[in-house]
């Protein structure tokens, strides 16, 4: 037997009985960050591959969603900060070894790249808006320039989009203190999941049949890749340290087993995989809306589950029956 008890009361907020510092705000940010990455990559891909005809929505209108999704994500991230007035401190330092610092700076660079991407197809995609920009000579010059260099802008957008998508996973995997996150597979897994949610978004919103088919095909490949990465992630933990084995238990026979396997792997990956396969073969067209919605849901569930389990997994474990609420009685 080995029992480690607190002798003095410890009910530190956010830490006891187990770490719970991050909730839906961070999960939502990681989801929207991944989605933004995918949006930028696919808008760029269509430009580079010259598939404007086949995928008119992704070619001309998709890019606008990137800064919107990212801004929403940064808003929820801001909501999570405990010392909000000091948010500017992310930009008074650059810490090479801190993925969070990298992320803060990547976000700053993403905006101008994304805006150039939008401007390069503004006239074609949003003819209601572009006259307001064209009215000014500098705006007109800018639009002309962006249109002329659309493919070059796309080539810059792809690496930045990938950096954004992969950093959200590396951010978590860098926490060596959290055994469940401590896997190098997390970066690629979050990137592929982000790309997959963006492909699903296009398949959901696009009107043209050829575009729906193209992005359903892309999504199929990405879902398959994501399943493979989930398998690798589990192999990685299963062959890891004692702490990682304990952490893995929470999805194998613990409290998160159901939500991980049924909601994420089942509803979020396998069901849309099957539905999309059917769609490509011409079946189940009438429910074509279901698969992309499930993929988007699965993308969010992945982040939420990762955030929840990762925090609970720890090197330190005490048995404690201390009830922090009892302290309140001192004041009553």
């Amino acid at each position: 037997m080995k029992e480690e008890l607190f002798v003095t009361a410890r009910g530190n907020a956010l830490i006891d009985p187990s770490l719970h510092i991050w909730t839906w705000e961070v999960a939502m940010y990681l989801f929207l960050g991944g989605l933004t990455a995918g949006i930028m990559v696919f808008a760029a891909y269509i430009a580079i591959a010259r598939k404007d005809e086949e995928a008119p929505f992704a070619a001309t209108r998709l890019a606008l969603l990137a800064p919107i999704a990212l801004s929403l994500g940064m808003t929820t991230l801001f909501l999570d900060l405990e010392h909000k007035l000091f948010v500017f401190r992310f930009y008074t330092a650059f810490k090479v070894l801190s993925p969070m610092s990298w992320g803060a700076w990547i976000l700053i660079v993403i905006y101008p790249v994304s805006i150039l991407q939008i401007l390069s197809t503004l006239r074609a995609g949003y003819p209601q808006v572009s006259p307001y920009v064209d009215r000014f000579s500098i705006g007109k010059q800018l639009l002309d320039w962006c249109e002329a260099y659309r493919r070059q802008i796309a080539m810059v957008a792809i690496p930045f989009g990938i950096a954004l998508g992969i950093y959200t996973g590396i951010l978590l995997s860098a926490f060596s203190a959290r055994p469940f996150w401590n896997s190098g597979v997390l970066g690629p897994l979050f990137l592929v999941s982000g790309l997959s949610t963006a492909a699903a978004l296009v398949a959901l919103v696009a009107r043209k049949h050829s575009e729906k088919v193209l992005f359903t095909r892309i999504d199929l490949v990405l879902i398959a890749a994501e399943l493979a990465l989930v398998a690798l992630f589990i192999v990685n933990l299963a062959s890891g340290t004692e702490q990682q084995l304990i952490a893995l238990d929470s999805i194998m026979s613990g409290p998160y087993t159901l939500v991980f396997w049924v909601l994420f792997v089942g509803v979020g990956l396998l069901v849309p995989l099957v539905l999309e396969l059917l769609e490509i073969r011409g079946f189940a067209r009438r429910v074509a809306i279901v698969a992309p919605v499930l993929v988007l849901l699965g993308g969010y569930v992945l982040r939420q589950v990762m955030i929840d389990i990762g925090q609970e997994s720890s090197w330190t474990r005490y048995d404690t029956q201390y009830n922090a609420e009892l302290l309140q009685r001192l004041h009553d």
């Binding site: 991050w22 405990e82 720890s314």
Partner: protein
């Protein structure tokens, strides 16, 4: 790096909790939060049980993951020592350092929102005094000093006694030692 260490003798610690009270008083730690705590670890099978008391806190790691992962530099090593401090004016309250600590030793200071932790009472160390917890210990089981000074009490104890640190396998190089 000047290495300050705390050496705690589990053979003479009785788990009274005076170190916890001393810390709360000295550092005005808000209600409901604690920068240090005492763990009673019992091992074995009845009636062959052994009990060890440990006064735990931030380990002021030489290779502190909380310092590495802090995105703003708020979490830092104080004046080239291993003492880990948080600068409230630099802290965004992102809580990355809380997740980065394998000892779960950091906490958010309510209601201000910045992250707070044990400081090894650096304001006392600067004046040549021991941290409040060490100086208040009634059984004198706690010792504080520099490991660079080979003649210091902590260096001597580590030379002559068996000791352990918590979870050395994290690679964080903790500096709170327990004599066993």
């Amino acid at each position: 790096m000047t290495r300050f260490a705390m050496v705690i003798d589990t053979k003479t610690c009785i788990g009274c909790g005076d170190c916890v009270v001393a810390c709360k008083t000295e550092n005005r730690v808000p209600d409901g939060l604690n920068r240090d705590w005492i763990v009673e670890a019992t091992q074995g099978k009845y009636p062959q049980l052994t009990t060890e008391f440990r006064s735990e806190r931030c380990n002021h790691c030489s290779n502190a993951t909380c310092v590495t992962l802090c995105p703003t530099g708020a979490s830092h090593h104080w004046k080239g020592t291993n003492i880990v401090l948080v600068d409230p004016d630099m802290c965004t309250g992102c809580k990355a350092c809380i997740a980065a600590c394998p000892y779960d030793a950091r906490l958010v200071m309510h209601p201000d929102g910045y992250v707070d932790k044990c400081t090894f009472c650096h304001h006392r160390v600067e004046e040549g005094l021991d941290p409040a917890c060490v100086s208040s210990c009634p059984t004198r089981c706690m010792h504080f000093g520099s490991l660079d000074d080979t003649g210091s009490e902590v260096s001597r104890l580590l030379k002559t006694r068996q000791y352990k640190v918590l979870k050395p396998e994290t690679g964080n190089e903790p500096n709170v030692y327990y004599l066993v």
